[in-house]
Amino acid sequence: MVLDLLLAASLLLTAWRSLYANDPLQAVGLFVAYGLLLALAWARLDALDVALAEAGIGAGLTGALLLGASRHAADRSFSDRIASPMMRAFLAAGALSLTSIVALALWSLRKPRGPGIAPLVSAKLSESGVKHPVTSVLLNFRSWDTLLEIGVLVVAAFSILALRLARSPPRKYDPMLAALVRVMVPILGVCGGYLLWAGSHRPGGAFQAGALLGAAGVLLQLAGYDLLADSARRGFRALLVVGFGTFLCVGIGVSTLGHQILEYPPTQAGSLIFWIELVATISIAVTLNLLYAASGSGAT
């Protein structure tokens, strides 16, 4: 309990400092710290999957994206605020009332109101083809959301490619970095593979694994590999959409076999989920890399 209170207090503090920092680098740094604290909070809340996703994607990759952007943002306008005192007072009042409404509403909801969907999940877990509840929700019970979520990544990639960004100048060769990459990329690869495999019965899964592989890609980019240069190649494009495409094909395909959309045949559910996760991981990793490259972080 004390730990929770401390954690909550430090979350608020880092968020505050990050949001009102005057220096972009400091702001992003604090934001990453906030993300890591948040991952801790998730762990405290018994949500290891989320903790991993938050650490990897929320704090890690987002942090990397923002860090790159922060280097271009080091101008005076960074701490510019709305000048009108009227407006500022209005916004402050708005934020205050928003907070109180949300907080009060949440406070009034503190008593449990029935079990929710959780018992249903545990009851049907054995039929889902996986043993880990969160994975069963993501890849089976609410697989539709996950399909669309991968779609969101794909659309983000499409939109970014449509921007036709100028290519970043190549990085200089850095022997230290190259050495680090040589060590880290295989390790990240192995860890990602493990997470993907673990997802079926314990915390882990496609997104976390994809994040790790994405991190490996980011390291490669840091070492001078230009991903955007390949964006026109069909192979690269295929990797980008293969996750969504496969998922969609399976989801629609099963419906031609007399099932509902996305309804896996019970006997094949486990293996179908595994293969979907595998290709999804590849696509997620490639997409995350593209996102990173496009945010301008790759540029020196």
């Binding site: 009060l104 659309v155 499409f158 939109s159 036709r164 996305l262």
Partner: protein
Amino acid sequence: MSGALPILIGGPFAAAMVSFLFTGAIGRALSVLLATASAVAALATSIEVMRSGVQIHALAGWGAPLGIELRIDGLAMLMLLLTAGISLAVTTFAAGYLKGDAQPHFWPLWYFLWGALNTVFLVSDIFSLYVCLELITLAAVGGTALSGDRIALSASLRYLMSAIMGSLAYLLGVAMIYAQVGTLDLTQLSGRLGSSWSSGAALSLVTAGLAMKTALFPLHFWLPAAHSLAPAPISAALSAMVVKASFYVLLRFWFQLSEPTSNQLAAHLLGALGMAAVLWGSVQAALQERLKLVVAYSTVAQIGYLFFIFPLFGGALAAGRSEWAQEAWKGGIILILAHAVAKSAMFLVSGALLQTFGSDRISDLKGAAVRAPLTLAAWGIAGISLIGLPPSGGFIAKWLLLTTAIRQEYWLYVAVLLLGGLLASVYVFRVLWHSFLTPEEMPSVSRIPGSMSISILALTVVLLLMGLRPAIPLEFTLIGIPLPAGDLR
């Protein structure tokens, strides 16, 4: 359940993949084929709804609340049909309109947008709706930025920021609703939210977020720039469908989740903002110099009318007159349909004029009545619907809203309904005035491809048909709508 549904859902997404991977002629043809299949499937699904009522499809075979359900009632069916129709028109138009290096990027984004729109109208799960709306947002922002000039890019960034802020407010509301009821399924939620402090807060957050995405005055600030600077086919989709998607979700929340009678004050607040939107948007539209900005501000105004449905509906129920509520409901739905068709036609017309005359300044349109008579006739017909003159879908919508407002003696709404129509006629006819002017020398024009004319023509024909036989969509607006009034079937 219909075998058409998988095609309806999968078609546009598959088309997006294909057009992304294969940019050649074969890829183009294949993707058009896939997307058209989806439109046909939408028709097939609709026929099924007409024949046998609400269609429910349990995704992954689980059913609510464990899984996610697709639920197609009358409203969803009309929206799906609308999406299919307008998307076909936009696709046809875009084939002739787009040129240059933006073109290969357009198609994947566009098909994705189409597919995402379908999902919003199908899904009956409040979190899934969040993902669908985000999918729409990202595709729409990417499409808006396509033209690549600086102002368009800034507009898309602002659009993205506003949309995400709206989504997050929505998400927070969803969290509270889940905390309170323990399910995410819209049908199961209906009637179970009660009127507690927390449900009020949740609904307010959801409403505020969706109002932001729908660009209700004064949260419309992002819309005119984004809608006017996007390439014409995207503009058409944005104004016709994308803002309607979030409004559709808002309708679901207000009429399916909460008791419309219990929050009449909030409904009047929305109505008041709607009135402000009508007046502000129309006046602004009348003042603009660029054709597409006129159309974009007109969207701000027309969205205002949509929000009249909340006070008119709730007031009717509070008065115990569910037949009035039905009329308000129908009026709102027809307005969505009519505005979507009219507005997409208008944006496509703007695009066609831009290409014909090389400018979308209204003052450069002199002689257009002679040089591009059919395009301008389409503008006129779409304008007639926006003004609310017969024979058009807009007239029927306005009539239904007007009579409901008079019945409840909401004179302010009556006044704004009438005044808004007059203001609309100013901006509609201002364009025609300029085009009828005979310039000293006729402007040089470039011919537009036939596909562009065909799509514009098709939309105007639909618009007129809606005015002549509005009974057809009206019949379907009530199928399976679980409105709180018991006697609404």
